[in-house]
């Protein structure tokens, strides 16, 4: 058997792999497909048994109702955008230097600190919800997108540090030495040399942080009232009513996940590569 044959496998193995891939596609895509289909169907088609997929029942009515009826959805999207961008920017600004320091500069007990930072991820949101709420409301910052963005740092920052530290650990040591020879200080090395080569993991970390901030529900529920409502809250509102028009609920869900999915798909290569490099040395 040639090496190539070992890698590719014979016809039997290839068939299995093909089947496996087909199953994977079905498993991953089917629910999302149904999400989109449901959002385009009328209520009476959806409550038929089984759902009536005849062409006549397709409509954009759900979308128009959802967009028209709720200024909330529009504002929710704007708020989510602000919160996510702000939180991501801050996480990167604070996290990248920290990750670099923990990876490359001789910070005492760097491993322990890194683990502690990861440990903060293990705290259930509920535990810190009320104390946080008290502090933030005393500061008068309730229902404020910026304060929500800062609260989100509590989970974004650790993850950014974790991802970037992993990547930084993998950079050859020679880089700093070369830069030092050229007379560059720590910060210059970091800024001009290390960062530019870190674009993949940086963008991976950025997209990750953005997505997490966009999708967050619990803190948004507690720390916002009307002005700063984010998208997940709007979705939850749809699901909580006296009557449910399923198509509308799905339409709202589609509108809310579409931007993030688009982002993720566009940046998938960076994310994948960023994780590849970043997580390996974690």
């Amino acid at each position: 058997m040639s090496f190539a044959r070992l890698q590719h496998g014979g016809p039997l193995r290839q068939t299995f792999i093909g089947l496996g891939l087909a199953l994977f596609v079905l498993w991953s895509a089917a629910p999302v497909l149904w999400l989109v289909l449901s959002s385009l169907l009328e209520q009476k088609a959806l409550i038929a048994q089984p759902p009536d997929l005849s062409f006549a029942n397709f409509t954009f009515e759900n979308f128009s109702t959802v967009i028209g009826a709720a200024a909330a959805l529009g504002r929710g999207i704007v708020n989510s955008l602000i919160v996510a961008l702000f939180s991501t920017a801050l996480a990167l600004a604070l996290g990248a230097p920290a990750a670099y320091a923990l990876a490359r500069l001789s910070v005492p007990r760097a491993d322990a600190i890194s683990f502690l930072i990861l440990a903060t991820q293990m705290l259930p949101g509920i535990a810190i919800a009320i104390p946080l709420f008290i502090v933030i409301s005393r500061l008068g910052l309730i229902d404020n997108v910026l304060s929500l963005g800062i609260v989100y740092l509590s989970f974004n920052l650790p993850i950014v540090i974790w991802i970037l530290r992993g990547f930084f650990l993998g950079i050859p040591a020679g880089i700093e030495k070369a830069a030092a020879i050229d007379g560059a200080g720590t910060f210059a090395t970091f800024w001009h040399i290390v960062l530019p080569i870190s674009l993949p993991p940086l963008s991976a970390a950025a997209v990750f942080a953005f997505v997490e901030a966009w999708n967050e529900f619990f803190f948004a529920l507690i720390l916002t009232r009307q002005q700063a409502q984010t998208v997940p809250l709007v979705i939850a509102n749809f699901a909580g009513q006296y009557q449910t028009v399923f198509g509308q609920m799905m339409a709202a869900a589609v509108i809310s996940v579409a931007p993030v999915i688009l982002l993720a798909v566009l940046f998938r290569n960076q994310i994948i590569r960023g994780f590849a490099d970043g997580m390996m040395k974690g």
């Binding site: 070992l6 496998g9 290839q14 891939l21 994977f24 596609v25 991953s28 895509a29 629910p31 999302v32 449901s38 959806l46 038929a48 048994q49 089984p50 759902p51 801050l90 604070l94 230097p97 490359r104 500069l105 910070v107 683990f115 930072i117 903060t120 705290l123 259930p124 949101g125 509920i126 535990a127 919800a129 009320i130 104390p131 946080l132 502090v135 740092l153 509590s154 920052l157 050859p172 997505v211 999708n215 529900f217 619990f218 998208v231 997940p232 979705i235 939850a236 699901a239 399923f246 869900a253 993030v260 999915i261 993720a264 798909v265 290569n269 994310i271 994948i272 994780f275 590849a276 390996m280």
Partner: protein, 287 residues
Amino acid sequence: MFFVAPALLVLLAILFYPIVDSILLALQRVQLAGGEVLQEWVGLGNFQRLFGDAVFWKAALNTAYFSFMEVALVTLISLGVALLLNHPLGRSGLYRILLIVPWAIAPVANAVLWKWILNANYGVLNGLLKSMGLIDNYQVWLGTPFSALNFLLIVDVWKSVPFVALLMLAGLQRVPQSLYRAAYMDGAGPWQSFLNVTLPTMRGVIAIAVVLQTIWSLRVFDLVFVLTRGGPADATVLLNFLAYRVTFNFLDLGYGSAIANIIFALTFLLAALYVWLLWPREPRGAR
């Protein structure tokens, strides 16, 4: 040093005070009265009450089952998916897109979607299975304790597999070809090279996947909140949800904080355990 300082300060500020306060709350009995929040110290009283509380133990059991099964299933399935995608047949970009999409969907939206799919009267799962003749009547998927907990599991596994699969895929792609070649030279077949080359090299990645997935499985909330609200008959009450219910529905802040701190301690211990057990011991890269 000042590179690290800003980040650490921020984390300290956002998390330090609340964590400390929540530990303090766990040692108190908190009641709302007279427009004020009345706090009185009860030491370990809340924890004593926890250990005698049947609902707590039920939640702990549910959580143990849920976490264990989720980590096992996600790790296995992700590995499988990663292997599939690492094969030349699986190189198409479409597959990677499919991996990214479920990860990007908000947990709330995911919960709402699956609640709709699993709907006892109009859900498409029922519709499909009945049209294919696999079931006679529409099933109430979330109707029995056993079924509800397992479907909760399936839904979260569906959402979690993609990200972990990405990790695994990245790990797979870093396994040096030379190792495979060497194994081939030694006469190893595909299964043996998998066992002796792939798995050992992937040890670190698998460890990371297990740690992360454990942490995340213990934080599942949106799903329970939307899909089952802990029902039927407390069958899907996970520790996290119990802490929420006790804190916000019963306003028993001290008790809720106690539960939350137990979750924290548990997660911390588990993660430390994994890291210690599974971390590959190799010399660090040059600094």
